[in-house]
């Protein structure tokens, strides 16, 4: 599952919900634009931090001092060590769910960065280990194995550091997409949690043996402060913020509605929903507090814009967890973390938008439609007419908010869909394509195909928004 498991569903005629007989947010104001300024600022901060983390080495190392191969290897080992140490903190920070990160960068993008930085951390740590080993061995005329023994025996905290490397390799290995998808999600998640061990086990050796960190001074203090800041961010983002949110809103399941044979909508109510800072297209990580479900947390988009009476998520039943959701009793408490995501009208860069949704990927798009300025266009791909979800709401919105909607039905190899999702086809439907933001949400195949077509049609990458967690 590569995008929030938000699978769209239309409210069926005569559906039992009386919370809102029609989309409640027709009058939703268009949210103010959130430019990429915040994101760029944070990215610049993170990159500055990276440079700053190598700076102590640069200042400590006199020019011309690395004359032997061993010294050069050791120096490279130190650089990669500093980089790895810093990036590991960035890794954890990006997953801290800190509201400012979720708001400015967005969960989807953070997920992608986490993946890229993760691969880099793994390589940096392995490079650090081998370079230091080779460098020290060279400096002391030892064999690499002897030197490894010396490091483990004579240097403090090195056993832990080696263990940390082992854990990191395991975590990295299980994150390779093919292996990850072969593992049950919960097992994988548990293994991935072990990354915190890396932080813990790798902590000591940086200060007892790090050439730039062992001596008391601003560098050491700063490095420790960085650790403290990341731990604080973790506590704030993962404990304090959700606690506050859930104590304030106290969400409960109000109703479970079948949208189609394999799609359900959950209506949630709670307190002070009028003060919910939620944008259409954003998602929460949900935890349903029943015997079988409480320990799992899953991301689902909200499928209607914020209103002061209810929240709705629409879910396609694909696994055991989603199947369990069908049986939720009204009144069940819900623990939510969020909202997060930048797949919203607020993140548009242009006045008009083109939305491309596939199958159940309509959910966040449906919520967003309520908040986009008039004049948007929607291309909705579905395999069969029965797979079209929320069609009544969509038609209603099309009218109310002056939106063009094309339903493109058929299998991916049918000539119709192929024609529409080509650069020419897109241009024909939406002539001012390149001057619009494009929002994409759907199965990976559709997203990839559309992305290629859009890029070929000349839409700048910065105008394309993806609701996928990774790509």
């Amino acid at each position: 599952m590569t995008y929030p498991q938000t699978h769209a569903a239309g409210r069926r005629t005569g559906s039992p919900s009386r919370h809102g007989g029609r989309p409640a947010a027709v009058s939703s104001p268009v949210p103010a634009r959130r430019g990429p300024g915040g994101r760029r600022l944070l990215a610049a901060l993170l990159v500055t931090g990276l440079l700053a983390s190598v700076l102590p080495w640069w200042l400590d190392t006199p020019a011309g001092s690395l004359r032997s191969t061993a010294a050069a290897l050791t120096a490279a080992g130190r650089i990669t060590g500093l980089v790895a140490g810093y990036l590991l903190l960035v890794q954890v920070l990006m997953m801290s769910r800190l509201p400012v990160l979720e708001r400015w960068i967005g969960g989807e993008r953070l997920g992608r960065w986490h993946r890229d930085v993760g691969a880099t951390v793994l390589v940096a740590v392995l490079a650090h280990l081998s370079l230091i080993l080779l460098g020290y061995a060279g400096l002391r005329d030892h064999s690499v194995l002897t030197e490894a023994g010396v490091l483990l025996r004579d240097y403090e905290d090195m056993v832990e550091a080696f263990a940390a490397t082992g854990v990191l390799v395991l975590v990295g290995f299980t994150s390779v997409r093919a292996i990850r998808s072969a593992l049950p999600y919960e097992l994988w998640h548990l293994l991935h949690r072990a990354s915190y061990l890396v932080l813990l086990l790798g902590f000591g050796h940086q200060f007892s043996n790090g050439a730039q960190l062992f001596q008391p001074g601003p560098v050491r203090t700063g490095w420790i402060a960085l650790y403290a800041a990341v731990v604080a961010a973790l506590v704030w983002g993962r404990v304090v913020t959700p606690l506050r949110f859930n104590l304030r809103h106290r969400l409960r399941v109000a109703d479970v509605v079948a949208e189609s044979p394999d799609t359900i909508s959950l209506y949630l109510t709670g307190e002070r929903l009028d003060r919910l800072d939620l944008l259409g297209g954003q998602f929460f990580r949900w935890r349903f507090l029943t015997r079988g479900c409480w320990w799992q947390s899953h991301p689902f988009s909200v499928s209607a814009a914020a209103n002061d009476r209810w929240l709705r998520l629409t879910v396609k039943v694909v696994g055991t967890h989603t199947a369990d959701l069908r049986d939720l009793d009204p009144g069940t408490r819900v623990w939510a973390q969020g909202p997060s995501g930048t797949f919203t009208a607020a993140h548009r860069t242009r006045e008009r938008a083109l939305l491309i949704a596939g199958g159940s990927g309509i959910t966040p798009v449906r919520a967003m439609l309520e908040e986009l300025p008039p004049g948007a266009a929607l291309i909705y791909r579905a395999r069969t007419p029965a797979d079209v979800l929320l069609s009544r709401e969509l038609d209603w919105l099309a009218q109310a908010r002056d939106t063009d909607i094309w339903y493109v039905i058929g299998s991916r190899d049918d000539p119709g869909p192929r024609q529409v999702l080509s650069p020419d086809g897109l241009r024909r439907l939406v002539p001012d394509l390149t001057r619009r933001d494009v929002y994409l949400c759907g199965p990976p195949g559709l997203v990839e195909q559309s992305l290629r077509a859009l890029r070929r049609a000349g839409v700048p990458r910065g105008q394309i928004h993806l609701a996928t967690f990774e790509l």
Partner: protein
């Protein structure tokens, strides 16, 4: 660090004031006396560290800098040192500046001064043959355990394993200030920039605190420091420039 076969006296090394302090007493005195003398010296060094350390938050210098301690409330030692630093600031045309690094940091004088006081006390206590080395600032009096004048090497500026000059004498204060590693770390207080031109400056005189301060000053002055040293009464010098030339006073007490 060297230990000949048999010799009278005592040697001891301790790590105080962020550097290694070594004491060599060559007088043939009873063990207990020697031990007591050495204890006195190192107690004194620790006391100086406690008062003057810029790294200890509770030192008098740091408290004075933060305004928690009035000069009138400070110990006599601190007052005397700060007064001397002020005099040195005037005498060196502002090049010796205890505030060069931003905060108050009189360590360019204190280390040498502390060793000088220790040496004076040893002399007063009857140990006339001794050598105190406080992190490279040396105060030597009398003769070594071999019965010859103290031989003091000057560290080779490019090779920590070698010395580039040997001085000898029976009453010498030798201070060397240099830019050995980490690039330039002595700052020219008037420009705020790292000093350049002189790699290492050794000053020999009667008082180690002043010698230490003058050596630091000359490094901060750069090339101009050579002529400044030349005009300094009562002191001799040896200078190694950045491009590896050795310049020295004709009267420098070089070992025979």
């Amino acid at each position: 660090m060297t230990a000949p076969l048999t010799r009278p006296g005592l040697r001891r090394v301790e790590h105080i004031m962020g550097t290694a302090i070594s004491l060599d007493v060559a007088d043939d005195l009873p063990d207990a006396t020697l031990r007591a003398l050495a204890d006195d010296v190192f107690d004194w060094m620790r006391e100086v560290d406690a008062r003057f350390s810029t790294y200890r938050e509770d030192s008098e210098v740091r408290r004075f800098e933060r305004g928690e301690l009035l000069l009138s409330e400070a110990s006599e030692d601190v007052r005397a040192v700060l007064a001397t630093c002020a005099d040195l600031w005037g005498a060196t045309d502002g090049f010796f500046d205890a505030y060069a690094t931003g905060g108050l940091d009189p360590s360019g004088y204190v280390k040498g001064w502390a060793a000088q006081v220790a040496s004076d006390r040893l002399l007063a206590a009857g140990a006339v043959n001794h050598c105190v080395n406080a992190g490279g600032d040396v105060r030597a009096r009398g003769h070594s355990a071999f019965g010859r004048p103290w031989r003091i090497g000057v560290r080779h500026p490019w090779d920590a394993n070698a010395t580039c000059l040997v001085l000898a004498g029976t009453d010498l204060a030798v201070a060397t200030s240099g830019v050995y590693e980490r690039g330039h770390h002595v700052r020219d207080p008037r420009r705020g920039a790292p000093a350049q031109g002189l790699r290492s400056v050794t000053v020999v005189g009667p008082d180690l605190g002043l010698a230490d301060a003058y050596a630091t000053t000359a490094v901060a002055m750069g090339r101009a420091g050579v002529t400044w040293l030349d005009r300094l009464p009562g002191h001799t010098h040896a200078v190694v420039t950045d491009n590896a030339r050795l310049l020295r006073s004709p009267t420098l007490p070089v070992a025979p």
